[in-house]
């Protein structure tokens, strides 16, 4: 027999915490599943165990995370930490793994709050040891109190780039340079959204960060090309400016960032339809105003439904919970009305300014669509040139996968999915929407054969495999 819950929430970041706490408050039997040992997600990662004194180094937006975590700790949610959700089907049965033990959990409703992953940055040499994401460096800072000290360059584009630089500065770390790849031409597109951004909660903060970082570290703007060089590990970073100028620095660490994109693998494995979002250049699930997907009973909240940031994630988490509570407790409809109204107001507030950020930090084609020998798929080491060569013959990314093995490695396409779709689209002169994406199958998190074998046998499965 499968374990059950009325509502299963996957992910203990801001969206998942808010959804779980609200639903539990309305008396639902809620299970909150999270891969990490403690709540907070990536954004508030390690908030209960961080080696930093509260209020220091990481900044007030990080320490704000203690509030939703406390609210969740007070709730009556069944919390399943250190538990990976490796499977989800259309009947809302989840496959879980905790301490080497696999089991299933069947829920009446599921809210996926699986958050975001860093957008791949397929530049030459990006698979060399020593090349890491800015998000990764931030996790090292949050959870291990580690900061770069020498031989480090931070490169790319987006709000996190500046936040991380500021945090590194506050922590006494060193960056040899910041290479800003934000295309100058993005300003033209972002301009119309400036008035809304100016009155948004992000504007003043962002400006302050940017100025503080500029005072502390060398910033090179208008970078149009970037490469990591080295044999066994990164030895240098080379770049080119818009004016044709070139630069090179010897480094042992290169931190890359060009925004984050929804982590879609679990939703895709459940058959949730996704569509290409041209402003944000990624696939996003098709959702209604509550985050419900086209698969009955499965909703998506937080950045997994489209990148809106941590504050918005709390509100979309609440809205998804509102829909789940209303479905399971029709009597609560009246009491939910003010809750929903509050969440919608707050969401509207924090959504303001997002269009400006999306337009300004839209990564340049040069850094999304590689060419020649640059790896598109890190796991199977498939160069961009090979993808382009095979693109004309393949029916789409799934056939390409069969042809070249791209997307077949352990990352299951997380590091190459968007790149391969965009490469094919460009090679054929069609939109990425027309190309589509990899079909994702479970397990979407690592599971050994023995762990899978450890699931309790069911007659249907046994009957399907017994050939005797």
């Amino acid at each position: 027999m499968s374990e059950t819950a009325e509502l299963a929430v996957v992910g203990a970041g801001p969206a998942g915490l808010a959804a779980a706490a609200l639903a539990a408050g309305f008396g639902l039997d809620v299970a909150l599943i999270d891969e990490q040992p403690g709540p907070g997600g990536q954004i508030y990662r390690g908030i209960e165990t961080s080696p930093h004194a509260p209020g220091t180094v990481l900044g007030e937006d990080y320490w704000y995370g203690a509030r939703p975590v406390r609210a969740f700790r007070r709730s009556r949610v069944r919390y399943l930490p250190s538990t990976a959700a490796w499977s989800l089907d259309r009947e809302r049965e989840l496959g879980l793994l905790h301490a080497g033990q696999a089991r299933t959990l069947a829920a009446k409703r599921v809210i996926l709050a699986t958050g975001a992953i860093e957008r791949p940055i397929p530049i030459p040499g990006w698979s060399l040891p020593g090349v890491m994401t800015a998000g990764g460096a931030q996790i090292l800072l949050k959870t291990a109190g580690m900061v770069p000290h020498s031989g480090t360059v931070l490169a790319g584009s987006g709000p996190l780039l500046w936040l991380l630089a500021w945090q590194i500065g506050r922590a006494g770390g060193k960056l040899d340079a910041i290479l800003d790849t934000t295309p100058k031409s993005n300003w033209r597109r972002a301009w119309p959204h400036l008035p809304a951004f100016a009155v948004s909660p992000y504007a003043l903060k962002g400006l302050r960060l940017r100025l503080a970082v500029g005072r502390r570290f060398r910033v090179v703007s208008g970078v149009v090309a970037l490469a990591a060089e080295g044999q066994e590990r990164i030895e240098a970073v080379r770049w080119q400016g818009a004016d044709g100028s070139e630069g090179r620095l010897a480094v042992d660490t290169l931190l890359l960032h060009q925004g984050v994109v929804p982590e879609t693998n679990l939703a895709m494995a459940a058959g949730v339809p996704h569509r290409w979002e041209e402003t944000r250049l990624c696939f996003e699930p098709v959702l209604d105003a509550y985050g419900d997907t086209e698969v009955p009973g499965i909703a998506i909240a937080g950045d997994g439904g489209g990148i809106l940031g941590a504050w918005a994630a709390e509100e979309t988490g609440r809205l998804a919970a509102v829909a789940a509570i209303r479905a399971l407790r029709p009597d609560a409809a009246e009491a939910l009305r003010p809750v929903e109204a509050r969440a919608r107001r707050a969401l509207a507030h924090v959504e303001r300014g997002r269009a400006f950020l999306d337009a300004l930090f839209r990564p340049a084609e040069r850094f999304r669509i590689p060419e020649g020998e640059t790896l598109a798929c890190r796991c199977e080491e498939i160069a961009a040139g090979r993808v382009i060569e095979a693109a004309s013959m393949a029916t789409g990314p799934n056939q390409l996968k069969a042809y070249l093995r791209c997307g077949m490695g352990p990352c299951q396409g997380r590091m190459c999915g968007l790149t391969v779709t965009e490469l094919m689209a460009k090679a054929r002169g069609v939109s990425p929407a027309a190309v589509g994406h990899y079909r994702i199958r479970p397990p979407v998190k690592p599971l050994t054969v023995a762990e899978l074998a450890g699931l309790p046998p069911d007659p249907v499965g046994e009957g399907a495999v017994n050939r005797d």
Binding site: P51, H52, S127, G136, L140, A144, V147, P148, E263, M415
Partner: protein
């Protein structure tokens, strides 16, 4: 190169390829290895080139190491524990 901030000193020790390295409770195996100056954790099974952690959030699968005899574990997702045995292939 990453360094620990002084106030976050190591509190325990893990064995990496037979050698003890310091680690701090609450951090991942990947963090402990990086703090010890290791950036290449394994060899790609395709061409044999060295690889190390890239995303540190469980998405890239480039930080795979053997932990207590279990191959292919994500170093960035496993918290350190005292006496843990790690095998890398730098």
């Amino acid at each position: 190169m990453f360094r620990r901030q002084p106030e976050t000193a190591a509190t325990l020790s893990i064995l990496v390829d037979g050698k003890p390295i310091p680690a701090r409770a609450g951090e991942s195996v990947a963090a402990a290895l990086l703090a010890a100056g290791l950036s290449a954790f394994r060899r790609s099974p395709v061409s044999g080139v060295p690889r190390g952690p890239y995303c540190l959030m469980g998405a890239c699968y480039d930080c795979l190491v053997t932990i207590d005899g279990q191959p292919g574990r994500q170093a960035c997702q496993v918290p350190v524990a005292s006496g843990m045995r790690i095998e890398t292939k730098p």
